[in-house]
Symmetry: C2
Subunit: 222 residues, 2 copies
């Protein structure tokens, strides 16, 4: 192991740490909603600064590595990809905060219906996040492809949620504001899955030099 | 001018070109909605591949510049920031496509009401996009701060749109599916403005070395 290998390893570990904080934000924000747990929602909002700190630290470390070690093709691409991935992770953390904020608002109102599809969306999106980062640090193209495939399930669930919410709103106008808030949560989860998909696409590009990015814009019909 | 200066200038021009395509997508997708122009919506969807091509080209050029010229601190940060900005721009292009898709769906149905706030959101978001990129290539911190301030206007307009749509849905259940589609358009525009804000924050960080990124998560209460 050279010093550079060590430094690269350290960068990977920080990125995985950031990913695990984002996973917590996804899990806990949805749990705060489902279990109507305001304290948990507030902790998600508070903890976002840890994600933000890592975002800046990873960027700084990446810049320092490039300037100091002048890495060649493969390593250079790895490091610049890491810098792009932190941007995605940081936004995913923000989306966790957005879900927590909606949870606080919804927890003040009567339950519209038990949440079923939203926890399933959360589960898939969280798994996609974990696997996308593992695919990156292990340069595992197959795992990255598997992440991309799962994005369709999240989209399907979102459409199901939005259709059900539209049904509620049509049947009973008093549900409109609550249903809209729940629809936002479904959209935040879909965006989290989109970010994981973007990371997975960058991994495939990194490993194969193949442009899977931009094959198609994911359709978003509710 | 050194060869490197030329190359850097070329990178800037490509980024501005990408920005101007994204601006077109924002402008034309909303015009396709307001003027019920399906052909225009389809052209936005088709043109997105130009944005995607530039995304990859700019990334490749940036990597090549770093590997070949081994730029020092300021230039290196400029180039890695450009790589992060293309990610934002590419997503903004996708959001233009999403708006165009919604326009196609909405153009098939009776008009719910004339669009007033959505064109205003579009105008501000488009201006923010242009100014964020100009702030980047000119390292203009004041312009970047001005972009960030305007994000609040877009948020306020989005809240107004969502409230009005909720009112429609409560009054008349037959409006629910159309109102939901329009609410998505408002959210896409808000996200475009968020991306422009992210770019502006990166510019300030680049110019000042100051972390304005992550000052706060934008509240998203409708």
């Amino acid at each position: 192991m050279t010093v550079f290998d060590d430094e690269l390893q350290h960068l990977k570990e920080k990125l995985l740490k950031m990913g695990s904080l984002v996973e917590d934000a996804i899990k806990d924000s949805v749990r705060a909603l489902v279990e109507r747990d305001n304290a948990l929602a507030i902790s998600v909002i508070d903890n976002d600064r840890l994600v933000n700190t890592l975002d800046v630290e990873i960027d700084e470390e990446a810049i320092r590595l490039i300037a100091l070690r002048q890495p060649k093709a493969v390593d250079l691409r790895f490091i610049t990809t890491a810098m792009k991935i932190t941007t995605d992770l940081e936004r995913m953390g923000d989306l966790g905060v957005n879900i927590a904020e909606r949870a606080l608002a919804l927890n003040d109102e009567p339950v519209l219906k038990p949440y079923i599809d939203i926890p399933r969306m959360r589960e898939i999106a969280q798994g996609m996040t974990r696997d996308a980062l593992n695919a990156f640090v292990q340069r595992d193209e197959r795992l990255a492809r598997d992440v991309i495939i799962r994005d369709d399930e999240v989209d399907d669930l979102k459409h199901a949620v939005l259709q059900e919410l539209a049904f509620f709103m049509v049947q009973d106008p008093t549900t409109v504001t609550r249903a809209m808030k729940i629809s936002f949560v479904a959209q935040y989860l879909e965006r989290i899955a989109d970010h994981a998909t973007n990371i997975a696409e960058m991994v495939i590009y990194l490993v194969k030099g193949k442009i899977i990015r931009h094959m198609a814009v994911p359709p978003e019909i509710p």
